[in-house]
Symmetry: none
Subunit: 186 residues, 8 copies
Amino acid sequence: MKKTSVRTRMLTGTAAVTALAAAGVGAVSASAETTDTPAAPAAVKVDTQNKNLAQSTGLNIDAATRAAQAALDAANKAGQHVSVAVVDRDGVTRVLLKGDGAGPQATESAERKAFTAVSWNAPTSELAKRLAQAPNLKDIPGTLFLAGGAPVQSKGAPVAGIGVAGAPSGDLDEQFAQAGVAALGK
Amino acid sequence: MKKTSVRTRMLTGTAAVTALAAAGVGAVSASAETTDTPAAPAAVKVDTQNKNLAQSTGLNIDAATRAAQAALDAANKAGQHVSVAVVDRDGVTRVLLKGDGAGPQATESAERKAFTAVSWNAPTSELAKRLAQAPNLKDIPGTLFLAGGAPVQSKGAPVAGIGVAGAPSGDLDEQFAQAGVAALGK
Amino acid sequence: MKKTSVRTRMLTGTAAVTALAAAGVGAVSASAETTDTPAAPAAVKVDTQNKNLAQSTGLNIDAATRAAQAALDAANKAGQHVSVAVVDRDGVTRVLLKGDGAGPQATESAERKAFTAVSWNAPTSELAKRLAQAPNLKDIPGTLFLAGGAPVQSKGAPVAGIGVAGAPSGDLDEQFAQAGVAALGK
Amino acid sequence: MKKTSVRTRMLTGTAAVTALAAAGVGAVSASAETTDTPAAPAAVKVDTQNKNLAQSTGLNIDAATRAAQAALDAANKAGQHVSVAVVDRDGVTRVLLKGDGAGPQATESAERKAFTAVSWNAPTSELAKRLAQAPNLKDIPGTLFLAGGAPVQSKGAPVAGIGVAGAPSGDLDEQFAQAGVAALGK
Amino acid sequence: MKKTSVRTRMLTGTAAVTALAAAGVGAVSASAETTDTPAAPAAVKVDTQNKNLAQSTGLNIDAATRAAQAALDAANKAGQHVSVAVVDRDGVTRVLLKGDGAGPQATESAERKAFTAVSWNAPTSELAKRLAQAPNLKDIPGTLFLAGGAPVQSKGAPVAGIGVAGAPSGDLDEQFAQAGVAALGK
Amino acid sequence: MKKTSVRTRMLTGTAAVTALAAAGVGAVSASAETTDTPAAPAAVKVDTQNKNLAQSTGLNIDAATRAAQAALDAANKAGQHVSVAVVDRDGVTRVLLKGDGAGPQATESAERKAFTAVSWNAPTSELAKRLAQAPNLKDIPGTLFLAGGAPVQSKGAPVAGIGVAGAPSGDLDEQFAQAGVAALGK
Amino acid sequence: MKKTSVRTRMLTGTAAVTALAAAGVGAVSASAETTDTPAAPAAVKVDTQNKNLAQSTGLNIDAATRAAQAALDAANKAGQHVSVAVVDRDGVTRVLLKGDGAGPQATESAERKAFTAVSWNAPTSELAKRLAQAPNLKDIPGTLFLAGGAPVQSKGAPVAGIGVAGAPSGDLDEQFAQAGVAALGK
Amino acid sequence: MKKTSVRTRMLTGTAAVTALAAAGVGAVSASAETTDTPAAPAAVKVDTQNKNLAQSTGLNIDAATRAAQAALDAANKAGQHVSVAVVDRDGVTRVLLKGDGAGPQATESAERKAFTAVSWNAPTSELAKRLAQAPNLKDIPGTLFLAGGAPVQSKGAPVAGIGVAGAPSGDLDEQFAQAGVAALGK
């Protein structure tokens, strides 16, 4: 590689960055996208001052950890051995806790329940019922339509998903996931 | 599943959401994390009004598409057949364009260059040089240490990565990627 | 490796190329394969002048991008957050747009719907109905039998597939996909 | 799903198809893209009469099978046990022959050599030498920089790749691959 | 599926086996393992002279190629665009032919049908019926319970599987697969 | 890297190890978690003397091999060709035996049955019945809800799973798996 | 399936369980395997009273979470954005924390560093040096030979691994990992 | 690695082959393949009576298990914790034993060493040396060029591979693998 061209590129890159910085990242306008439809409204808000940028909202790691721990604690109190996952709006895992005695199936199950809950912004117990109308929804990669996943919402939009797996029933798993959600409101 | 427990869960969920909403999503404090270290500062800003939330900055789809198109146009002008990828701060693909005549290796190559650039907040031509000190960096899954990837920055932090592959040299690929970055500053 | 043998190989290779070139790539004979069967006729046309070659038809990147953008615009107008994929006749992704606010499940869902539509040359809403007769069709790797995919045809044969995912119903997704197809006719 | 909307979609789809068909698929203009650069020129030719379409050239299955068989025959004559793969311009396998006595490593090795040869339009023995300048090229997914792959060209552009693996040296593998290429010129 | 064609296929299969027997392999003792059980008897024979070794029977590459070509020819005669796979007793692909115009879903579909047929030593049209009793059989990795796969038997034991995919119905696919089996008896 | 910091780290590491060692690994308190619920109690016992550690119980390799061999012997006596897997409490394979003549589908099938049995601490024949209530359980990655898997228990908690596959029915497979379990009691 | 055979199986299973239970799980004999060799001694201790069982030692989830949090806190104090993983002796993830602002490459990088450290019972900074003698060690699946991983030991044997990734250097990452280890000794 | 131990291993390997010859399989010509050719002769024999069939030779499960157990016993005697894999000529795992205390990296490492040894019909310690001439050999999927793999031969052709992993050095691993080979000659 010629050194000259590398320098040129870097200057170009700097110029672009400057332009973005000049545009600023100011006040976040209120999003109008939070309807009560069962669809997947999102936590992305259009930035009114820089035509290139969008802000998205998520849990910080402290909140995500607190929520996961609360879900695990709820399971422990109930004498259940579970794993807990918290994923962000993009389905990426932020926190994973494989509880003592949780089976090997619980980890990916928890992650998929969390992924499913945040994807459709609804508890997976509700989503499982939708399969009666659209049975092939469950063929979408990454999903799991079993009770145990709950969305975390901000202004109605999903910002995270909590998934729990390992208890004898999905109902129990989802109670623990909701305990995780509830911990964020304290 | 008993309907009662489902209703209970939903109320719990609603309570949590209300709590988050009450906390609000206000003014975004300026992040102090944009040092000039070669490390990976990030576009996450702590929300000062809700202890649970963090805002992150990314390109909107219009900007991402415009950047990808600009990179492809630059390649076309130079008579090169390439593919272009734009990924967000989490490495997730936002835009992918497999150009006419681009080889089959170009798609994943472009995505990995973009992933690598946004992960370390530097052009991949620069990152490839770091292998002299830390040769095993290139064993990190998802990465590709070949010129052709460029970060998009906002206030010094990476908010996206643009990757180009398919030209006869990485130098050319990276010129096209930088043309994509530059298009965001116009 | 001996240099001599490399040279020999190259000469051999050149000879082969010459032979192909001599055979030419002339007028494309009309294909007779476009029946109205629900099967998968293809866009491959036998080259009458070179016994080795076949021509296949696809969208160029400008058309594919225009179609994807039109599908995304249609979704935006309807207030929906979706991802859009355009794949070629071989199921390879040409364009991918992850729209603002589209959930994490939408990307692969869109790609699979497009893949499915081009594989059977029919909208996925139609294909989903065929599962009543052949339920295991949906076990074929890479497919997704959910409304939202539409084929792009040239002379009745599939040359591309457009897939949309993220709206509250597959019906909506498919409307947007069809808007993408329609944009190619303008 | 409402039947009405399905019918609407189908009509929309038909309209689009008609538009494409009206545009026609006429004479294929000669491509000007065949330079002698070592880059990756491609076999895609812009269709001058329909702004949406592009034609691409590949081997038909008879030619691909004949080439693969010729490569295998050459290996057999030399007393070697190999596997042979023929991939198209997009790296998709058209023919695979796992020869008698070929080791288990040979199949994917042959496919990757063919993929690599068609991606860069050069024999893999040549491409392996380029690693001296760009060692990380070999980290691109799907590639293998070992002698034994040869491109099939039409008018200088790659239309297929042939890969052979299993002989005691890559030199031998590549001789057999070139025998496959040569069979297309007979 | 029409019952008639299924019966035809089964007769064809039987004919093929007889043909193999007629072709040689010494005196074909009616193997005691060819009961009508749906189990998976195997082609492994204990070597009486070395306590460590077992012999297994498979198709040689010439036979496998001939069978695959015959299946493809049968499809072509019927005006169908398919892909064909021949796998050995261990499910490993020996021959793969992606026919002109075959859709992208056909390759892996053909391989899985062949895998399924050789695993249970029965045509996949028959195996698909067993799902009525054991619906979760189809969750076994690598399988596909769609008509189109046929076992190749020697002395009643499976020595290979032929899979065809891409025709408008599995019935047609399986006719072509059986044509491939029959070609081994000629 | 600076040598100084490496030395510092090592000392830190040593300190941590010492602390753990000082805490000791004493008498294992009896676990109270063995209820008769169909859930997934686990073989982890809290260590009362070191707040950091937990003990888990598994089969040693001699026992696991003996169990696998007993399962295979039982199949051989019944004239069946099967594969056998023994996994530990975490679903990790300890022993795998691909029996003579076992089909290619049997290996992963056996592993998944063993995984499923140890995950829910019940024979897979029982677990398959639960799908009537919770059909989507079978979508959890790694599982297979076919008879043929049996848990190995210690004090009621699962410590291993044995899976068998390849016989004409899951009932037979599970008899062989149970023969493997029984061999541990001799 | 016949109910009778199921009952029989269950009785057999119960018998086996009883046998195991009768054998008991008594005092854990001191392991003699803790040499100072750089090899991979393990935390498995032979159970002297039940010939089938072995005990293995791991961190409980409270300890694993505390260690992960300590590592993340150390990074935060240093102004670094990292991800942290804690894996058990079998390389299975127990805790994963994707810190605020950590790049997308950090998650799997952290898990692999932890996996590598527990596999060889040494910090990855030390292990990276071994590549001078055995460069292909780094080709073992699941590993990453970059500083940032540290083993947790009990009586000299590895019981867990902590991996950190995301800081500008592996040295920093490993300081944070060691802070996690040290937290277990408090 | 010490050259002396390599020589020892090779002698051991030769001894094993002789032992196999002594065991029968007709007149076992002392194999000439321990020449220095790196090729991969194979155990497939053309069936002279049926033009379609070929016979291949492998270990039966009893022999494979005996060999694996012998390798594990040798490791145990040396106080090492390892995993052992035996694969057939097609690289398919026949036996897997994850020894007590073997690290999580050992399983796939053992399988890949066995795969590599049977693919090239040579101990992996020898194969690792070939990388000096052909460094990219190690990029072939499924392989691992670390000492610890040994081929099992019949009449000079590879019929199986034994891989061992987990000891502090590959030299030790390969001694144990060779002990497994030697056990077949007893």
